[in-house]
Amino acid sequence: MEALLHALSWIAVIGGLFFMLVGTFGVLRMPDVYTRLHAAGMTDTMGAGLLLLGMAFQTIIDMMHGETSYWLVLVRLVFVYAFLLFTSPIATHALARAAIAGGVVPWTNEAGES
């Protein structure tokens, strides 16, 4: 049971790091602000979610070792994820709206760049 939880937390953390690094790489490489927003959104949902899931599995292992008060840590993890889940789309929306209002023209591949 504990080995299974360890394996699950490793899978979750590695998966979260993968999504986070790919999303940040997209922020670094994409051509304009709107495409970069798309890459950054993936970081907040999948990356943060899987990392926090991995931490939750570790907390459950600690609880099995007698740290009975750690259920509060689980509640906090859920709260952190809930806040990120609510604030990230709002921030993305506000950024896209501000960029449109600020006159940033969306990038199209008319020049035929690769």
Partner: protein, 95 residues
């Protein structure tokens, strides 16, 4: 071990976000980079809490998530309208 790997990965991602913040080119790219940097800071604080065996750090992560959101919205509002809404209120009241 697990959280050491997670810390290293998050630090690499933070460095990449900072590079975008420095490169720009528009101010919205910089705000976007700082916003993702803040999200990664939240996760870094949480992971560091587990790494040092003190999960109470999650409280700090919670507060930082909220401050990061408020800060992004405030900066965006400033760049969208050139102010935080005060001049338009003054104009409305003058009419």
């Amino acid at each position: 071990m697990l959280f050491g790997v997670a810390t290293a990965g998050i630090l690499v991602a933070m460095a990449m976000a900072l590079t975008r913040a420095l490169l720009g080119p528009t101010v919205y790219d910089r705000v976007l980079a700082v916003n993702t940097f803040g999200t990664k800071t939240v996760l870094l604080i949480a992971v560091l809490g587990f790494l040092t065996g003190r999960p109470e750090f999650l409280d700090l992560a919670l507060v930082y998530a909220l401050i990061n959101f408020i800060g992004t919205i405030a900066v965006l509002k400033f760049f969208e309208f050139g102010d935080l809404g005060l001049t338009r209120r003054v104009e409305r009241e003058a009419e």
